[in-house]
């Protein structure tokens, strides 16, 4: 048993010990994307926001869309991991680390979009020095700081035993692993302390994650702009965030399953469970979208209706209907039955949802600004290569950070898999017996 276990654990350590040609190709490709983004930002920095498609009245375009989208994707990790951990879902074990890393990487990228969006980034410090808490933008800064701190802590704590394994088994980066392992030897006391700390963080992280995306929605809903001033924007954004987050997690899992040969750990059953979760979220997303638009339509306020029709049959119709197709129709068709070709179907649905959720953010941000309530001239937003470059660069940066992480730390938690093998079957059996009424007969 021990030999089998070690052989399989080697699969998890292999990406850290050896570097294949694929890694360098991936880094080269991502570097090109990042270079494109860097050049785009350099041009924007020197010539100002005039080089982008952001003009009056549309002052928020791709950057704010990306901000909301990336912060939404960040919900994949810590929130999903915490819910699965607290509900003692045993199938979570190979998934949680991947999910938590997404959060920590993507939240930096998301917050960075605001810096990119600033016409005068040199005035950034003024927000910190002279900020006013009456502004929802500052609520955002505070809640994202809390989520980032919580997510980093929540990622690091369950990594400590794995870092100790790296310290003991690998011949490189001894100092780094020794420092981060905090002298972990796996004593009963250490395990107790760690489990307690992880449990506290798991409980804390859930309300923080929910609050973060609610606060992101407040940036829009606290204004009196048509199509933004909505009471359901908080939960609508949270549902969308979890929806896109799960899709992002699934795509990441499938990529690394293929790249690092993790089929032994990430089995079709994991994708089936996540696919079912995705289907539920697709239905919930549709419900919220329907409720949001029905309320606006029924009220028939002229300014609101202008935007409503701009989305349904006006200049934004391709984006709106593509969003409905990607977020509802395709996932429904793919996820209705997952008995066969599970991984392929879940992958198609997830890719579709990622595109659809980005379009949803775009559809929320841009049309309202194109048709302002105040008597300003209406405007059309057309992004230039600068915004496309920034978007590609941001995606590249996220993927590169993630890839580099996998070269330093195992992407699947080794100790949690071990713990699952050693204790889970007994614990689950005991738990099931405790759920059932009366005495349960022992097997002969």
């Amino acid at each position: 048993m021990a030999e089998i276990r070690d052989a399989h654990e080697d699969i998890l350590l292999a990406p850290i010990e050896y570097t294949g040609r694929g890694f360098y190709w991936a880094v080269a490709f991502l570097s090109v994307l990042i270079l494109w983004g860097a050049i785009a930002y350099a041009v924007q920095f020197t010539q100002g926001l005039g080089v982008t498609g952001l003009h009056q009245p549309v002052g928020w375009g791709f950057y704010v869309t990306n901000f909301v989208f990336f912060i939404g994707i960040s919900h994949a990790g810590t929130l999903i991991s915490a819910i699965l951990r607290l509900s003692k879902a045993e199938w979570r074990r190979p998934i949680t680390r991947m999910a938590e890393v997404i959060t920590c990487m993507v939240i930096f990228i998301g917050a960075g979009q605001i810096l990119v969006d600033l016409g005068r980034p040199d005035r950034m410090m003024n927000v910190l020095r002279h900020g006013r808490y009456q502004s929802p933008l500052l609520w955002d800064a505070t809640s994202i700081s809390a989520y980032l701190t919580a997510s980093l802590t929540y990622l690091y704590l369950p990594m400590i035993p794995d870092i100790a394994i790296l310290r003991d088994r690998l011949g490189k980066r001894k100092l780094l692993y020794s420092v981060l392992a905090l002298g972990w030897t796996g004593t009963e006391h250490q395990q107790k302390v760690l489990n307690r700390a992880i449990a506290i963080m798991a409980v804390l992280v859930i309300p923080i994650a929910v609050s973060v995306h609610s606060v992101v929605s407040f940036v829009f809903s606290m204004t009196l702009q048509p199509s933004w001033h909505s009471t359901i924007f908080g939960p609508y954004f949270v549902v969308g965030a979890i929806f896109s987050g799960i899709a992002g997690l699934i795509v990441t899992m499938i990529i690394f399953r293929k790249a690092y040969g993790l089929d032994y750990y990430l089995k079709p059953i994991h994708f089936r469970y996540l696919g079912q979760l995705l289907l539920i979220m697709a239905l919930l997303w549709f419900y919220f979208t329907f409720a949001e638009y029905l309320t606006g339509y029924y009220g028939a306020e002229p300014e609101e209706m202008k935007i409503f029709w701009a989305k349904f049959s006006g200049p934004f119709w391709p984006f709106f209907w593509a969003m409905v197709l990607c977020n509802f129709v395709v996932p429904l068709l793919c996820l209705a039955s997952l008995k066969q070709h599970t991984v392929g179907k879940v992958l198609i649905a997830s890719l579709s949802i990622i595109i659809g959720m980005w379009l949803e953010r775009f559809i929320i941000v841009v049309p309202t600004l194109s048709f302002p309530r105040l008597p300003f001239p209406e405007g059309v937003y057309a992004p230039t290569w600068v915004e496309w470059g920034e978007t590609a660069g941001s995606l590249g940066l996220f993927a590169l950070f993630y890839l580099l992480f996998t070269k330093f730390f195992p992407i699947i938690s080794i100790w949690e898999i071990r713990e699952g093998r050693e204790n889970s079957v007994r614990e689950v059996e005991e738990r099931i017996i405790s759920y059932l009424p009366g005495e349960v007969e022992e097997k002969p």
Binding site: S145, A146, G171, K172, V179, L180
Partner: protein
Amino acid sequence: MEYQAPVSDRLIRRLQWIWLGGAFLLVGGIIAWIVHLIVASWRLDDVIQASVGISIVAIPIFLVFMGVIFYVFWGVALHGRKRED
């Protein structure tokens, strides 16, 4: 496996303290920033209720983070090793 010289325990312990200090600096820095915003709104006679209301929620959360980080450091790195000895 390539040979690596053994790492000094004292160096590791020092770096661990620096790591803890860095974590405290990050969390403490955010708390200090929130307090700064309250002071600024007080000085400018701005709507202080908003700053105080948000900080009543935010500051304890950050303090709990600090507590958890220190608890793990104390329980795993300091106390955990002592028990093992």
